[in-house]
Symmetry: C2
């Protein structure tokens, strides 16, 4: 018998998971949470074997942060990330945060059930279409940007000019250009547009 906690900000998805999981004989859904904070509280109270967690959780903590918190509990549950998006960086972050696996929501119910069972016994679960990409990512990891660089990249991706970024960060335009030069080098691109595109497709921002 495996006990579960469902974490998703969409009531509909929670109901769907519950419905799907309760068709499987050996699962007990102990509870549902709509936010990361709620998830951590409930996990402490109910100590489920496995937590099913969406990456996007509306306001508050996201799935990665929630995973990290959950894994730091005394009775740390296995955390299985179940989400709609397959952003490389997020998958890696989730694994780093201690997730037991990463599944896309469009898989068949049986796969979800099977994955939970395997996660419960400590297996690392990755959807096949993700596994290879993740391993590739492992080989050539996304370069780590500094906090400041991420900040600049964020503004960049909303279309800000160097001047605007400088003004908002209260630094000189020269500084912004330096940050950008570093960002470009790390991401191996040569224009802001390409940096934006890469950042978005890899989930860097």
């Amino acid at each position: 018998m495996t006990t579960l906690l469902i974490v998703d900000d969409h009531p509909v998805v929670r109901s769907g998971l519950r419905a799907v999981l309760e068709t499987a004989s050996d699962f007990t859904v102990l509870g549902e949470a709509a936010t990361g904070e709620e998830a951590v509280s409930l996990a402490q109270l109910l100590h489920p074997d496995v937590v099913l967690c969406d990456l996007r959780l509306g306001t508050g903590m996201d799935g990665i942060q929630t995973t990290a918190k959950l894994r730091n509990l005394d009775t740390a549950p296995a955390v299985l990330i179940l989400t709609t998006f397959d952003r490389d960086a997020e998958i890696l972050s989730a694994i780093e945060a201690g997730a037991a696996g990463y599944l896309l929501k469009d898989v068949a119910p049986e796969v979800i059930i099977d994955s939970i069972q395997r996660a419960a016994v400590g297996e690392l679960i990755l959807a096949p279409e993700l596994a290879s990409r993740v391993l590739q990512g492992m080989r050539s990891p996304l370069p780590k940007l500094t906090d400041r660089e991420v900040q600049v990249l964020r503004m960049l991706s909303t279309g800000s000019t160097n001047k605007e970024i400088a003004a908002q960060l209260f630094v000189s335009e020269a500084t912004v250009k330096t940050h950008l030069a570093h960002i470009f080098t790390k991401l191996d691109v040569d224009s802001r547009s390409r940096a934006i595109h890469l950042a978005q497709t890899t989930g860097l921002i």
Copy 2:
């Protein structure tokens, strides 16, 4: 008694909707479809009163196209778009395609139930947080880009330079610059980054 058809490419979401809707006494879920094509076939066969349709449907037709097809059937059902994203352009397109409304998936089950009932009797349903933006959009409609301009904008948003766009489209760089100038004017922006950002946030591409 209102009859329903659920269209979503995620089995989990379909189960969730079914579970949620069947708690309401006066709904009958006639069937589920995972693709737009399937949805149209089933609607012809079962003629439901209301079709609940996701915008993103994986491969094949998207929600907008599906809506248009459904509304062209002899026994046209009311189509209620139920999705995760709130991209302005998509909302407008959905309404134009004949959708009876547009709901975000994170609303409470009661709201979904209520909306379906209202959609069934011909009301236009918009989540409150969308309604005002849509009406604003009505006031200052997104300027219509020509096919060529959309094409250029697409390449722009993947980070292509003018030279690269020119090469791929087999035109001169001057032409690309002209297209961009038009795009910028229509979108009221002054840089490619901002054009990309606007295009993405409004769902223009």
